[in-house]
Protein backbone atom coordinates (compact mmCIF):
# COMPACT_ATOMS: atom_id res chain seq x y z
CA UNK A 1 0.00 0.00 0.00
CA UNK A 2 1.64 3.25 -1.06
CA UNK A 3 0.65 6.21 1.04
CA UNK A 4 -1.29 9.00 -0.63
CA UNK A 5 -1.04 11.04 2.53
CA UNK A 6 1.57 10.57 5.21
CA UNK A 7 1.01 12.31 8.54
CA UNK A 8 3.84 12.22 11.06
CA UNK A 9 3.62 13.14 14.74
CA UNK A 10 1.40 16.07 13.88
CA UNK A 11 0.55 18.60 16.61
CA UNK A 12 -1.76 21.59 16.10
CA UNK A 13 -2.89 24.15 18.65
CA UNK A 14 -5.26 27.09 18.29
CA UNK A 15 -4.35 30.43 19.80
CA UNK A 16 -7.42 31.65 21.64
CA UNK A 17 -8.06 34.57 23.96
CA UNK A 18 -7.67 32.21 26.92
CA UNK A 19 -4.40 30.60 25.78
CA UNK A 20 -3.55 27.79 23.39
CA UNK A 21 -5.98 24.91 22.90
CA UNK A 22 -4.55 21.74 21.41
CA UNK A 23 -6.65 20.15 18.68
CA UNK A 24 -4.21 17.52 17.46
CA UNK A 25 -1.89 15.87 19.93
CA UNK A 26 0.53 13.76 17.93
CA UNK A 27 -1.15 12.11 14.94
CA UNK A 28 0.66 9.39 12.98
CA UNK A 29 -1.30 8.17 10.01
CA UNK A 30 -0.69 6.90 6.49
CA UNK A 31 -3.64 7.05 4.11
CA UNK A 32 -3.29 4.48 1.35
CA UNK A 33 -3.96 5.14 -2.32
CA UNK A 34 -7.54 4.29 -3.17
CA UNK A 35 -8.63 3.33 0.35
CA UNK A 36 -11.79 4.44 2.10
CA UNK A 37 -10.99 5.70 5.55
CA UNK A 38 -13.49 6.85 8.11
CA UNK A 39 -12.48 9.11 10.95
CA UNK A 40 -14.90 9.00 13.86
CA UNK A 41 -15.03 11.35 16.80
CA UNK A 42 -17.28 13.67 18.75
CA UNK A 43 -17.29 17.42 18.14
CA UNK A 44 -13.99 18.69 19.45
CA UNK A 45 -12.08 15.45 18.92
CA UNK A 46 -9.82 17.14 16.38
CA UNK A 47 -11.06 15.31 13.29
CA UNK A 48 -11.95 18.48 11.36
CA UNK A 49 -8.60 20.04 12.16
CA UNK A 50 -6.93 16.93 10.77
CA UNK A 51 -9.00 17.08 7.56
CA UNK A 52 -8.34 20.75 7.02
CA UNK A 53 -4.62 20.41 7.79
CA UNK A 54 -4.19 18.02 4.86
CA UNK A 55 -5.00 20.88 2.52
CA UNK A 56 -3.34 23.53 4.74
CA UNK A 57 -6.76 25.04 5.24
CA UNK A 58 -6.40 25.71 8.96
CA UNK A 59 -7.82 28.87 10.49
CA UNK A 60 -5.34 31.73 10.88
CA UNK A 61 -5.06 31.22 14.64
CA UNK A 62 -3.89 27.62 14.20
CA UNK A 63 -0.28 26.87 14.99
CA UNK A 64 1.57 23.75 13.91
CA UNK A 65 3.75 22.76 16.85
CA UNK A 66 5.34 19.63 15.50
CA UNK A 67 5.27 17.09 12.72
CA UNK A 68 4.52 17.23 9.03
CA UNK A 69 1.97 16.13 6.45
CA UNK A 70 3.11 14.79 3.11
CA UNK A 71 0.65 14.67 0.23
CA UNK A 72 2.06 12.60 -2.62
CA UNK A 73 5.47 13.04 -1.05
CA UNK A 74 5.19 16.82 -0.89
CA UNK A 75 5.22 18.58 2.48
CA UNK A 76 2.09 20.59 3.09
CA UNK A 77 3.54 22.50 6.02
CA UNK A 78 6.79 23.71 4.52
CA UNK A 79 6.05 24.10 0.80
CA UNK A 80 5.52 27.54 -0.69
CA UNK A 81 2.01 28.83 -1.37
CA UNK A 82 2.06 28.08 -5.08
CA UNK A 83 3.00 24.44 -4.52
CA UNK A 84 0.23 24.00 -1.98
CA UNK A 85 -2.27 25.66 -4.29
CA UNK A 86 -1.28 23.25 -7.02
CA UNK A 87 -1.67 20.33 -4.62
CA UNK A 88 -5.16 21.48 -3.69
CA UNK A 89 -6.09 22.00 -7.31
CA UNK A 90 -4.71 18.79 -8.75
CA UNK A 91 -4.63 16.22 -5.99
CA UNK A 92 -7.13 17.15 -3.30
CA UNK A 93 -10.90 17.41 -3.36
CA UNK A 94 -12.79 18.78 -0.39
CA UNK A 95 -16.45 18.35 0.52
CA UNK A 96 -17.52 20.43 3.47
CA UNK A 97 -20.35 20.26 5.93
CA UNK A 98 -22.34 23.19 4.60
CA UNK A 99 -22.58 23.31 0.80
CA UNK A 100 -24.10 26.77 0.86
CA UNK A 101 -21.01 28.33 2.35
CA UNK A 102 -18.74 26.24 0.13
CA UNK A 103 -20.22 27.77 -3.02
CA UNK A 104 -19.72 31.36 -4.17
CA UNK A 105 -23.14 33.00 -3.79
CA UNK A 106 -22.42 35.60 -6.50
CA UNK A 107 -21.49 33.20 -9.28
CA UNK A 108 -23.65 30.88 -11.35
CA UNK A 109 -23.06 27.17 -10.75
CA UNK A 110 -21.91 26.54 -14.32
CA UNK A 111 -19.14 29.09 -14.03
CA UNK A 112 -17.97 27.76 -10.68
CA UNK A 113 -17.84 24.24 -12.08
CA UNK A 114 -15.98 25.42 -15.17
CA UNK A 115 -13.40 27.16 -12.98
CA UNK A 116 -12.83 23.99 -11.01
CA UNK A 117 -12.25 21.97 -14.18
CA UNK A 118 -9.05 21.81 -16.16
CA UNK A 119 -8.53 24.29 -19.00
CA UNK A 120 -11.60 26.03 -20.41
CA UNK A 121 -14.36 23.41 -20.63
CA UNK A 122 -17.41 24.00 -22.81
CA UNK A 123 -20.99 23.93 -21.57
CA UNK A 124 -21.41 20.28 -22.51
CA UNK A 125 -18.41 19.23 -20.42
CA UNK A 126 -19.72 21.19 -17.43
CA UNK A 127 -23.13 19.55 -17.79
CA UNK A 128 -21.59 16.10 -18.12
CA UNK A 129 -19.83 16.62 -14.81
CA UNK A 130 -23.07 17.75 -13.17
CA UNK A 131 -24.83 14.65 -14.50
CA UNK A 132 -22.07 12.49 -13.06
CA UNK A 133 -22.84 14.09 -9.71
CA UNK A 134 -26.41 12.91 -10.06
CA UNK A 135 -28.03 16.20 -11.04
CA UNK A 136 -30.92 15.51 -13.41
CA UNK A 137 -31.31 18.91 -14.97
CA UNK A 138 -27.72 19.98 -15.56
CA UNK A 139 -28.70 22.89 -17.80
CA UNK A 140 -30.98 24.45 -15.24
CA UNK A 141 -28.53 23.82 -12.40
CA UNK A 142 -25.64 25.36 -14.35
CA UNK A 143 -27.67 28.52 -14.87
CA UNK A 144 -28.67 28.74 -11.21
CA UNK A 145 -27.13 30.64 -8.36
CA UNK A 146 -26.39 28.60 -5.22
CA UNK A 147 -29.35 30.00 -3.27
CA UNK A 148 -31.71 28.66 -5.93
CA UNK A 149 -30.69 25.07 -5.15
CA UNK A 150 -31.79 22.81 -2.33
CA UNK A 151 -29.17 21.71 0.20
CA UNK A 152 -28.90 18.27 -1.36
CA UNK A 153 -28.44 19.64 -4.87
CA UNK A 154 -25.87 22.13 -3.63
CA UNK A 155 -23.92 19.34 -1.95
CA UNK A 156 -23.99 17.42 -5.25
CA UNK A 157 -22.49 20.48 -6.92
CA UNK A 158 -19.80 20.63 -4.25
CA UNK A 159 -19.01 16.98 -4.91
CA UNK A 160 -18.82 17.74 -8.64
CA UNK A 161 -16.34 20.52 -7.87
CA UNK A 162 -14.31 18.18 -5.69
CA UNK A 163 -13.99 15.50 -8.40
CA UNK A 164 -13.61 17.94 -11.31
CA UNK A 165 -9.92 17.19 -11.72
CA UNK A 166 -9.91 13.56 -10.66
CA UNK A 167 -8.15 14.15 -7.36
CA UNK A 168 -6.11 11.45 -5.65
CA UNK A 169 -7.62 12.25 -2.27
CA UNK A 170 -11.19 13.21 -1.46
CA UNK A 171 -11.74 14.63 2.01
CA UNK A 172 -15.34 14.90 3.20
CA UNK A 173 -15.93 16.58 6.56
CA UNK A 174 -19.39 15.68 7.91
CA UNK A 175 -20.66 15.91 4.30
CA UNK A 176 -24.27 15.32 5.31
CA UNK A 177 -24.50 17.04 8.68
CA UNK A 178 -26.22 20.18 7.44
CA UNK A 179 -28.53 18.34 5.05
CA UNK A 180 -32.06 17.14 5.56
CA UNK A 181 -31.60 13.88 7.38
CA UNK A 182 -33.59 11.88 4.86
CA UNK A 183 -31.33 12.59 1.85
CA UNK A 184 -28.09 11.84 3.66
CA UNK A 185 -27.83 8.29 2.40
CA UNK A 186 -28.11 9.36 -1.22
CA UNK A 187 -25.36 11.94 -0.86
CA UNK A 188 -23.13 9.33 0.76
CA UNK A 189 -23.97 6.88 -2.05
CA UNK A 190 -22.87 9.49 -4.55
CA UNK A 191 -19.68 10.28 -2.69
CA UNK A 192 -18.66 6.64 -2.56
CA UNK A 193 -19.66 6.06 -6.18
CA UNK A 194 -17.49 8.99 -7.24
CA UNK A 195 -14.62 7.61 -5.20
CA UNK A 196 -14.96 4.28 -6.96
CA UNK A 197 -15.12 5.99 -10.35
CA UNK A 198 -12.05 8.15 -9.81
CA UNK A 199 -10.06 5.63 -7.81
CA UNK A 200 -9.25 8.33 -5.26
CA UNK A 201 -8.71 7.73 -1.56
CA UNK A 202 -11.69 8.87 0.40
CA UNK A 203 -11.32 10.26 3.90
CA UNK A 204 -14.68 10.80 5.51
CA UNK A 205 -15.04 12.51 8.88
CA UNK A 206 -18.14 11.83 10.90
CA UNK A 207 -19.50 11.23 14.36
CA UNK A 208 -21.65 8.41 13.02
CA UNK A 209 -19.71 5.24 13.77
CA UNK A 210 -22.29 2.94 12.25
CA UNK A 211 -22.31 4.75 8.92
CA UNK A 212 -18.49 4.72 8.83
CA UNK A 213 -18.31 1.03 9.63
CA UNK A 214 -20.87 0.23 6.93
CA UNK A 215 -19.15 2.21 4.26
CA UNK A 216 -15.40 2.40 4.93
CA UNK A 217 -12.71 -0.28 4.82
CA UNK A 218 -10.72 1.24 7.64
CA UNK A 219 -11.76 3.32 10.60
CA UNK A 220 -9.96 5.63 12.95
CA UNK A 221 -11.46 6.65 16.27
CA UNK A 222 -10.23 10.01 17.55
CA UNK A 223 -10.47 11.39 21.04
CA UNK A 224 -8.81 14.43 22.54
CA UNK A 225 -6.69 15.08 19.45
CA UNK A 226 -5.26 11.57 19.35
CA UNK A 227 -5.99 8.39 17.46
CA UNK A 228 -7.24 6.02 20.16
CA UNK A 229 -8.13 3.11 17.91
CA UNK A 230 -7.44 2.30 14.28
CA UNK A 231 -8.13 -0.80 12.26
CA UNK A 232 -10.34 -2.66 9.80
CA UNK A 233 -13.92 -1.40 10.21
CA UNK A 234 -15.43 -4.77 11.01
CA UNK A 235 -12.73 -5.55 13.56
CA UNK A 236 -13.04 -2.23 15.34
CA UNK A 237 -16.82 -2.40 15.44
CA UNK A 238 -17.04 -6.11 16.17
CA UNK A 239 -14.43 -6.24 18.89
CA UNK A 240 -13.55 -2.73 19.99
CA UNK A 241 -10.49 -2.59 22.22
CA UNK A 242 -10.48 0.98 23.42
CA UNK A 243 -12.97 1.90 26.16
CA UNK A 244 -13.96 5.01 24.25
CA UNK A 245 -14.85 3.03 21.12
CA UNK A 246 -16.89 0.65 23.27
CA UNK A 247 -18.66 3.55 24.96
CA UNK A 248 -19.47 5.08 21.55
CA UNK A 249 -21.01 1.82 20.36
CA UNK A 250 -23.01 1.43 23.58
CA UNK A 251 -24.31 4.99 23.29
CA UNK A 252 -25.54 4.61 19.71
CA UNK A 253 -29.13 3.55 19.20
CA UNK A 254 -29.27 0.38 17.15
CA UNK A 255 -27.11 -1.89 19.32
CA UNK A 256 -29.47 -2.19 22.25
CA UNK A 257 -31.98 -4.96 22.96
CA UNK A 258 -35.68 -4.04 23.04
CA UNK A 259 -36.44 -2.23 26.30
CA UNK A 260 -32.78 -1.76 27.12
CA UNK A 261 -31.58 1.70 28.12
CA UNK A 262 -28.91 3.50 26.04
CA UNK A 263 -25.77 4.39 27.92
CA UNK A 264 -24.57 7.92 27.18
CA UNK A 265 -20.89 8.57 27.85
CA UNK A 266 -20.72 10.53 31.10
CA UNK A 267 -18.93 13.88 31.16
CA UNK A 268 -17.80 16.05 28.28
CA UNK A 269 -14.84 15.92 25.86
CA UNK A 270 -11.67 17.56 27.21
CA UNK A 271 -10.23 20.94 26.29
CA UNK A 272 -6.49 20.36 25.98
CA UNK A 273 -4.37 23.20 27.31
CA UNK A 274 -1.18 21.23 26.65
CA UNK A 275 -0.27 17.93 24.98
CA UNK A 276 -1.74 15.42 27.39
CA UNK A 277 0.68 13.70 29.71
CA UNK A 278 -1.88 11.03 30.58
CA UNK A 279 -4.88 9.39 28.93
CA UNK A 280 -7.31 12.13 27.88
CA UNK A 281 -10.28 9.77 28.19
CA UNK A 282 -9.49 8.70 31.77
CA UNK A 283 -11.92 11.14 33.47
CA UNK A 284 -14.84 9.58 31.55
CA UNK A 285 -13.58 6.02 31.49
CA UNK A 286 -15.10 3.25 33.58
CA UNK A 287 -11.85 1.26 33.45
CA UNK A 288 -9.49 4.09 34.36
CA UNK A 289 -6.81 3.19 36.90
CA UNK A 290 -4.06 5.13 38.55
CA UNK A 291 -1.67 4.42 35.69
CA UNK A 292 -4.05 6.10 33.20
CA UNK A 293 -3.79 9.39 35.05
CA UNK A 294 -0.02 9.22 35.20
CA UNK A 295 1.21 7.80 31.94
CA UNK A 296 0.30 8.64 28.36
CA UNK A 297 -0.73 5.41 26.64
CA UNK A 298 1.32 4.67 23.54
CA UNK A 299 -0.30 3.35 20.40
CA UNK A 300 0.30 -0.35 19.96
CA UNK A 301 -1.03 -3.40 18.17
CA UNK A 302 -3.92 -5.14 19.93
CA UNK A 303 -5.65 -7.90 18.02
CA UNK A 304 -5.67 -6.70 14.42
CA UNK A 305 -5.99 -3.05 15.38
CA UNK A 306 -3.80 -0.33 16.82
CA UNK A 307 -4.99 0.97 20.16
CA UNK A 308 -3.83 3.65 22.60
CA UNK A 309 -4.97 2.24 25.96
CA UNK A 310 -2.97 0.74 28.81
CA UNK A 311 -5.57 -1.92 29.48
CA UNK A 312 -6.83 -2.80 26.02
CA UNK A 313 -6.00 -6.52 26.28
CA UNK A 314 -7.53 -6.90 29.73
CA UNK A 315 -10.71 -5.09 28.70
CA UNK A 316 -11.12 -7.23 25.60
CA UNK A 317 -10.46 -10.43 27.51
CA UNK A 318 -12.84 -9.50 30.33
CA UNK A 319 -15.80 -8.88 28.07
CA UNK A 320 -15.31 -11.82 25.73
CA UNK A 321 -14.44 -11.24 22.11
CA UNK A 322 -17.08 -8.78 21.19
CA UNK A 323 -20.12 -7.10 22.52
CA UNK A 324 -22.92 -8.82 20.66
CA UNK A 325 -24.71 -6.60 18.22
CA UNK A 326 -28.23 -6.88 19.44
CA UNK A 327 -30.17 -7.95 16.38
Amino acid sequence: MTAAVDIRDFVVAYETGGGAVFALDGIDLAIGAGETLGIVGESGSGKSTLGMAIGRLLAPNARIDAGDILVAGCSVTTSDDETVRRLRRERLGFVFQNPMSALDPTMRIGRQVALAMEGTPDTAAVERLLVRAGLDEPGRVARSFPHELSGGMAQRVVIALAIARNPQILIADEPTASLDASIRDRILDLLFAMRAETGASLVILSHDLRMIVHRCERVIVMYGGRIVEMGESQAVFGSPAHPYTRALIRAAAGNEAPGEQLDPIPGVPPVLRAPSADCAFAPRCAHAAERCRRERPAERAVGGSRVACHFAEEIMAASGTAREVAE
Binding site: R56, L57, A59, P60, D81, V84, S101, H147
Partner: protein, 284 residues
Protein backbone atom coordinates in the same frame (compact mmCIF):
# COMPACT_ATOMS: atom_id res chain seq x y z
CA UNK B 1 -23.27 45.78 27.99
CA UNK B 2 -21.78 49.00 26.63
CA UNK B 3 -18.32 47.88 27.66
CA UNK B 4 -18.92 44.59 25.85
CA UNK B 5 -20.16 46.37 22.75
CA UNK B 6 -17.19 48.73 22.68
CA UNK B 7 -14.80 45.84 23.20
CA UNK B 8 -16.36 44.08 20.22
CA UNK B 9 -16.17 47.28 18.21
CA UNK B 10 -12.50 47.61 19.16
CA UNK B 11 -11.74 44.05 18.01
CA UNK B 12 -13.69 44.63 14.85
CA UNK B 13 -11.61 47.65 13.87
CA UNK B 14 -8.29 46.15 14.88
CA UNK B 15 -8.90 43.42 12.35
CA UNK B 16 -10.05 45.78 9.65
CA UNK B 17 -7.92 48.91 9.24
CA UNK B 18 -9.74 49.98 6.05
CA UNK B 19 -13.03 49.87 7.94
CA UNK B 20 -11.44 52.03 10.64
CA UNK B 21 -10.24 54.49 7.99
CA UNK B 22 -13.76 54.68 6.57
CA UNK B 23 -15.30 55.22 10.00
CA UNK B 24 -12.84 57.97 10.95
CA UNK B 25 -13.22 59.75 7.61
CA UNK B 26 -16.98 59.57 7.83
CA UNK B 27 -16.94 60.89 11.38
CA UNK B 28 -14.76 63.87 10.38
CA UNK B 29 -17.08 64.70 7.47
CA UNK B 30 -20.15 64.34 9.66
CA UNK B 31 -18.74 66.64 12.34
CA UNK B 32 -17.79 69.15 9.65
CA UNK B 33 -21.22 68.94 8.12
CA UNK B 34 -23.13 69.26 11.39
CA UNK B 35 -20.98 71.76 13.30
CA UNK B 36 -19.39 73.50 10.31
CA UNK B 37 -21.30 76.75 10.79
CA UNK B 38 -19.95 77.04 14.32
CA UNK B 39 -16.38 77.04 13.04
CA UNK B 40 -14.70 80.39 12.25
CA UNK B 41 -14.60 79.73 8.52
CA UNK B 42 -16.40 82.83 7.35
CA UNK B 43 -19.89 83.45 6.00
CA UNK B 44 -20.81 81.12 3.13
CA UNK B 45 -23.25 83.66 1.71
CA UNK B 46 -21.21 86.90 1.96
CA UNK B 47 -21.08 88.06 -1.65
CA UNK B 48 -17.98 89.92 -2.62
CA UNK B 49 -15.99 88.87 0.42
CA UNK B 50 -13.07 88.34 -1.90
CA UNK B 51 -12.16 88.55 -5.57
CA UNK B 52 -14.33 86.66 -8.11
CA UNK B 53 -12.96 83.19 -8.91
CA UNK B 54 -9.97 83.81 -6.69
CA UNK B 55 -7.38 81.04 -6.43
CA UNK B 56 -6.84 79.37 -3.03
CA UNK B 57 -4.92 81.66 -0.69
CA UNK B 58 -4.30 82.11 3.02
CA UNK B 59 -7.45 84.22 3.42
CA UNK B 60 -9.57 81.90 1.25
CA UNK B 61 -8.13 78.37 1.63
CA UNK B 62 -10.31 76.96 -1.16
CA UNK B 63 -10.49 80.13 -3.20
CA UNK B 64 -13.63 82.11 -3.99
CA UNK B 65 -16.53 81.46 -6.34
CA UNK B 66 -18.03 83.52 -9.15
CA UNK B 67 -19.75 85.90 -6.72
CA UNK B 68 -16.64 86.34 -4.61
CA UNK B 69 -17.94 84.13 -1.78
CA UNK B 70 -15.39 82.25 0.28
CA UNK B 71 -15.51 78.65 -1.04
CA UNK B 72 -14.42 76.81 2.12
CA UNK B 73 -17.57 77.59 4.18
CA UNK B 74 -19.69 76.85 1.12
CA UNK B 75 -18.14 73.40 0.71
CA UNK B 76 -18.64 72.76 4.42
CA UNK B 77 -22.27 73.82 4.12
CA UNK B 78 -22.57 71.59 1.07
CA UNK B 79 -21.34 68.61 3.06
CA UNK B 80 -23.98 69.27 5.70
CA UNK B 81 -26.81 69.69 3.18
CA UNK B 82 -25.86 66.63 1.14
CA UNK B 83 -25.51 64.46 4.25
CA UNK B 84 -28.75 65.75 5.72
CA UNK B 85 -30.81 65.18 2.58
CA UNK B 86 -29.30 61.74 1.99
CA UNK B 87 -29.73 60.74 5.61
CA UNK B 88 -33.40 61.75 5.71
CA UNK B 89 -34.04 59.95 2.44
CA UNK B 90 -32.20 56.82 3.57
CA UNK B 91 -34.03 56.68 6.88
CA UNK B 92 -37.31 56.82 4.98
CA UNK B 93 -36.00 54.10 2.67
CA UNK B 94 -34.89 51.94 5.57
CA UNK B 95 -38.18 52.15 7.44
CA UNK B 96 -40.43 51.58 4.42
CA UNK B 97 -38.06 49.08 2.81
CA UNK B 98 -37.74 47.00 5.97
CA UNK B 99 -41.47 46.93 6.60
CA UNK B 100 -42.40 46.05 3.03
CA UNK B 101 -39.51 43.62 2.58
CA UNK B 102 -40.37 41.78 5.77
CA UNK B 103 -44.05 41.67 4.90
CA UNK B 104 -43.28 40.34 1.41
CA UNK B 105 -40.87 37.73 2.71
CA UNK B 106 -43.02 36.46 5.55
CA UNK B 107 -46.61 36.78 4.39
CA UNK B 108 -46.09 35.12 0.97
CA UNK B 109 -48.97 34.97 -1.47
CA UNK B 110 -50.73 38.04 -2.77
CA UNK B 111 -48.91 40.48 -0.46
CA UNK B 112 -45.57 39.20 -1.66
CA UNK B 113 -46.57 39.38 -5.32
CA UNK B 114 -47.88 42.92 -4.98
CA UNK B 115 -44.83 44.27 -3.14
CA UNK B 116 -42.39 42.44 -5.40
CA UNK B 117 -44.06 43.83 -8.54
CA UNK B 118 -44.05 47.39 -7.16
CA UNK B 119 -40.37 47.03 -6.34
CA UNK B 120 -39.66 45.70 -9.85
CA UNK B 121 -41.43 48.62 -11.48
CA UNK B 122 -39.63 51.18 -9.35
CA UNK B 123 -36.37 49.39 -9.95
CA UNK B 124 -36.81 49.57 -13.70
CA UNK B 125 -37.51 53.28 -13.59
CA UNK B 126 -34.39 55.46 -14.04
CA UNK B 127 -33.88 57.71 -11.00
CA UNK B 128 -32.99 60.76 -13.03
CA UNK B 129 -36.04 60.49 -15.24
CA UNK B 130 -38.10 60.19 -12.11
CA UNK B 131 -36.27 63.22 -10.73
CA UNK B 132 -37.32 65.33 -13.70
CA UNK B 133 -40.88 64.17 -13.21
CA UNK B 134 -40.85 64.86 -9.47
CA UNK B 135 -39.30 68.27 -9.99
CA UNK B 136 -42.01 69.09 -12.48
CA UNK B 137 -44.78 67.99 -10.12
CA UNK B 138 -43.49 69.09 -6.69
CA UNK B 139 -41.12 71.75 -7.95
CA UNK B 140 -37.35 71.46 -7.64
CA UNK B 141 -35.93 71.56 -4.12
CA UNK B 142 -35.06 69.48 -1.08
CA UNK B 143 -38.42 67.70 -0.86
CA UNK B 144 -38.23 66.59 -4.47
CA UNK B 145 -34.69 65.38 -3.90
CA UNK B 146 -35.73 63.31 -0.87
CA UNK B 147 -38.68 61.79 -2.73
CA UNK B 148 -36.50 60.86 -5.68
CA UNK B 149 -33.71 59.41 -3.55
CA UNK B 150 -36.10 57.31 -1.50
CA UNK B 151 -37.96 55.93 -4.49
CA UNK B 152 -34.67 55.10 -6.14
CA UNK B 153 -33.20 53.27 -3.15
CA UNK B 154 -36.32 51.52 -1.81
CA UNK B 155 -36.63 48.73 -4.43
CA UNK B 156 -33.21 47.22 -3.77
CA UNK B 157 -33.79 47.60 -0.04
CA UNK B 158 -37.05 45.69 -0.29
CA UNK B 159 -35.41 42.94 -2.31
CA UNK B 160 -32.54 42.50 0.11
CA UNK B 161 -34.77 42.49 3.19
CA UNK B 162 -37.25 40.18 1.49
CA UNK B 163 -34.64 37.58 0.58
CA UNK B 164 -33.08 37.66 4.05
CA UNK B 165 -36.55 37.38 5.57
CA UNK B 166 -37.30 34.35 3.41
CA UNK B 167 -34.30 32.52 4.78
CA UNK B 168 -34.86 33.57 8.40
CA UNK B 169 -38.55 32.65 8.23
CA UNK B 170 -37.59 29.03 7.51
CA UNK B 171 -35.50 28.83 10.66
CA UNK B 172 -36.76 26.47 13.26
CA UNK B 173 -37.26 29.04 16.00
CA UNK B 174 -39.81 30.77 13.77
CA UNK B 175 -41.71 27.52 13.23
CA UNK B 176 -41.56 26.84 16.97
CA UNK B 177 -42.94 30.31 17.72
CA UNK B 178 -45.82 29.83 15.28
CA UNK B 179 -46.64 26.45 16.79
CA UNK B 180 -46.80 27.97 20.25
CA UNK B 181 -49.32 30.48 18.98
CA UNK B 182 -47.23 33.59 18.27
CA UNK B 183 -49.12 36.22 16.27
CA UNK B 184 -47.83 37.45 12.93
CA UNK B 185 -46.78 40.71 14.57
CA UNK B 186 -44.92 38.90 17.28
CA UNK B 187 -43.08 36.73 14.77
CA UNK B 188 -42.13 39.74 12.67
CA UNK B 189 -41.01 41.99 15.52
CA UNK B 190 -39.45 39.52 17.95
CA UNK B 191 -38.06 36.88 15.63
CA UNK B 192 -37.59 38.30 12.17
CA UNK B 193 -36.62 41.93 12.68
CA UNK B 194 -33.64 41.41 15.03
CA UNK B 195 -32.29 38.75 12.69
CA UNK B 196 -32.50 40.79 9.50
CA UNK B 197 -31.17 43.96 11.10
CA UNK B 198 -27.57 43.14 10.24
CA UNK B 199 -28.31 42.77 6.54
CA UNK B 200 -30.49 45.89 6.65
CA UNK B 201 -27.68 47.95 8.18
CA UNK B 202 -25.24 46.85 5.51
CA UNK B 203 -27.77 47.69 2.83
CA UNK B 204 -28.32 51.04 4.56
CA UNK B 205 -24.70 52.03 4.14
CA UNK B 206 -24.84 51.24 0.45
CA UNK B 207 -28.11 53.10 0.10
CA UNK B 208 -26.50 56.10 1.79
CA UNK B 209 -23.66 56.28 -0.69
CA UNK B 210 -26.04 55.84 -3.61
CA UNK B 211 -28.20 58.58 -2.11
CA UNK B 212 -25.33 61.00 -2.04
CA UNK B 213 -24.59 60.31 -5.66
CA UNK B 214 -28.23 60.81 -6.63
CA UNK B 215 -28.53 63.97 -4.53
CA UNK B 216 -25.44 65.38 -6.17
CA UNK B 217 -26.65 64.41 -9.62
CA UNK B 218 -30.03 66.04 -9.02
CA UNK B 219 -28.47 69.22 -7.68
CA UNK B 220 -25.99 69.17 -10.53
CA UNK B 221 -28.94 69.23 -12.91
CA UNK B 222 -30.52 72.00 -10.87
CA UNK B 223 -33.35 69.79 -9.60
CA UNK B 224 -32.13 69.55 -6.00
CA UNK B 225 -31.40 72.28 -3.46
CA UNK B 226 -31.87 75.78 -4.75
CA UNK B 227 -29.49 78.73 -4.36
CA UNK B 228 -28.29 80.31 -2.23
CA UNK B 229 -28.16 77.02 -0.28
CA UNK B 230 -25.31 74.80 -1.37
CA UNK B 231 -24.97 71.05 -1.65
CA UNK B 232 -21.97 69.19 -3.00
CA UNK B 233 -23.89 68.65 -6.22
CA UNK B 234 -24.89 72.24 -6.72
CA UNK B 235 -21.31 73.31 -6.04
CA UNK B 236 -20.10 70.85 -8.66
CA UNK B 237 -22.62 72.25 -11.11
CA UNK B 238 -21.40 75.78 -10.54
CA UNK B 239 -17.77 74.74 -10.62
CA UNK B 240 -18.15 72.85 -13.87
CA UNK B 241 -18.93 76.16 -15.65
CA UNK B 242 -15.53 77.49 -14.67
CA UNK B 243 -13.66 74.23 -14.98
CA UNK B 244 -10.89 75.63 -17.17
CA UNK B 245 -10.29 78.88 -15.34
CA UNK B 246 -11.00 77.86 -11.71
CA UNK B 247 -10.60 74.06 -11.45
CA UNK B 248 -10.56 74.19 -7.62
CA UNK B 249 -14.29 74.91 -7.69
CA UNK B 250 -14.88 71.36 -8.98
CA UNK B 251 -11.96 69.76 -7.28
CA UNK B 252 -12.93 70.59 -3.68
CA UNK B 253 -16.55 69.37 -3.65
CA UNK B 254 -15.63 66.50 -5.99
CA UNK B 255 -12.93 65.18 -3.71
CA UNK B 256 -15.12 65.59 -0.64
CA UNK B 257 -17.95 63.69 -2.32
CA UNK B 258 -15.59 60.92 -3.39
CA UNK B 259 -14.16 60.71 0.12
CA UNK B 260 -17.62 60.57 1.66
CA UNK B 261 -18.79 57.77 -0.64
CA UNK B 262 -15.58 55.84 -0.22
CA UNK B 263 -15.71 56.10 3.57
CA UNK B 264 -19.31 54.87 3.67
CA UNK B 265 -18.52 51.94 1.39
CA UNK B 266 -15.42 50.99 3.38
CA UNK B 267 -17.46 51.01 6.54
CA UNK B 268 -20.22 48.99 4.87
CA UNK B 269 -17.73 46.40 3.64
CA UNK B 270 -16.19 46.18 7.08
CA UNK B 271 -19.60 45.56 8.67
CA UNK B 272 -20.39 42.93 6.06
CA UNK B 273 -17.06 41.18 6.64
CA UNK B 274 -17.58 41.28 10.39
CA UNK B 275 -20.97 39.61 10.02
CA UNK B 276 -19.74 37.04 7.52
CA UNK B 277 -19.04 33.68 9.16
CA UNK B 278 -16.43 32.79 6.56
CA UNK B 279 -14.29 35.82 7.34
CA UNK B 280 -10.75 35.20 8.37
CA UNK B 281 -10.12 31.91 6.62
CA UNK B 282 -7.16 32.89 4.50
CA UNK B 283 -6.20 30.68 1.60
CA UNK B 284 -2.58 31.10 0.86
Amino acid sequence: MIALASARLGRFFRRDSLGLLGAVLLLVLLILGIFGDLLPLGDPNAIGAGPRLGAPSLAFPLGTDDLGRSYLPRVVEGIGVTFLLSAIAVIITAVIGTLLGMAAGYLHGATDHLIARIADILFAFPALLFGLLAAAVIGPGSIAAIVVISTATIPLFIRVVRSVTLSVAEREFVVAAVVSGASTWRVMLVHLLPNILGAAIIQLTYALSVSMIIESALSFLGLGVQPPAASLGSLLRLGSVYLTIAPWLVLAPGLVLAAAIMSINLLGDAIRDALDPLRGRSLK
